[in-house]
Symmetry: C2
Subunit: 199 residues, 2 copies
């Protein structure tokens, strides 16, 4: 299969690329490195990306940022960032990329588990994570040409523990193999409209 | 109790006001009618509202719009409207109103069930509904002074069937009494961080 991974340079992205490149042709897309560059908040940038790459079998998104801030201090702009970057950015990839995915291909988005296991300062993340699960459920029933769409919720990966462990207090780290398997399940399996838990 | 209902003129808002005014002082807030007017996408407008009203025991939001459109045709702007109006608008009410709710008071937000029971053209609604559930879970753990926060998911009400029945094909209408009881449970009960299903 020909698989595009958007957000290939992050911890989750590198894990997914390492796993899928064992069996597939993987095209790495990042903001400023990789085989191609894109800004997923910009539809024109995404259109140029998919025109340059052409038809693919699967598009995986492991990109999207949020701001962590106390509920009592978070500004409208900081909160909105989670919605406009992590949520709208991933939705944009689906809207722009749909016509470039072959019949029976797939989209795999990425959220996280902070809506299920909330932490202090994580209100933007929790909202974005839940939003993407809702999107996956509803978008899957409208995808054309048997294209599947799922969202993977990675746990806190072992390789990310040093960076995020303090923010995600009480979250037990999971092996990056478990997270890689969740993405493989979405890309290589037959599920659609599902939230696949990687922990 | 002194209860503010933002979105008082809609079908859900009128139902909630009728129920809560049996036992409480209800202040009706709308975009252009009611006791007070506000635009909940505008923090300055919300600040003015709460300064004018002063301290209250509960704030209920039954406002928030989304665009219905086919997944294959929806624009970034149409999709974003669900996030900036329904999600960010309700979150703004919490951010602006928090200091005006008395100790042990409550917020009650409103989403809907389209992330659980998706319908064609409902991808923006499903995403917004899920987002607000994630927000409620995470925001509840950070609320100050024992303030509670829940989200009610009203089913398709009998009184709304004529307007929304065609959009929500397959959704069985529920008595508006059931929906009223879900809001009363949030305002008068002791739950927090919950999604209260009104169907």
């Amino acid at each position: 299969m020909k698989v595009v991974v958007i957000g290939a340079s992050g911890d989750v992205g590198r894990t997914v690329c390492a796993e899928l490149s064992k069996r597939h042709e993987v095209i790495e897309v990042c903001r400023s490195s990789g085989d191609y560059q894109t800004d997923m908040t910009d539809m024109a940038s995404l259109e140029r990306l998919f025109q340059a790459i052409g038809e693919v079998d699967a598009i995986v998104v492991t990109a999207g940022s949020v701001k962590f801030a106390k509920l009592q201090e978070i500004s409208q702009a900081e909160f909105m960032y989670a919605l406009s970057d992590k949520v709208m950015g991933q939705v944009n990839v689906v809207l722009a990329g749909m016509n470039y995915v072959r019949d029976g291909g797939s989209f795999t988005l990425t959220n996280g588990l902070l809506d299920q296991h909330p932490v202090p300062n994580g209100v933007g993340a929790a909202t974005a994570n839940a939003a993407l699960s809702g999107f996956a459920t509803a978008a899957a029933i409208e995808m054309p040409r048997n294209i599947r769409l799922n969202v993977v919720s990675p746990g806190l990966m072992d390789i990310s523990y040093e960076r995020y462990g303090k923010t995600l207090k009480g979250h037990e780290p999971v092996s990056s193999k478990i997270v890689a398997a969740a993405y493989a399940k979405s890309v290589e399996g037959s599920a659609s409209g599902q939230r696949i838990i990687g922990e």
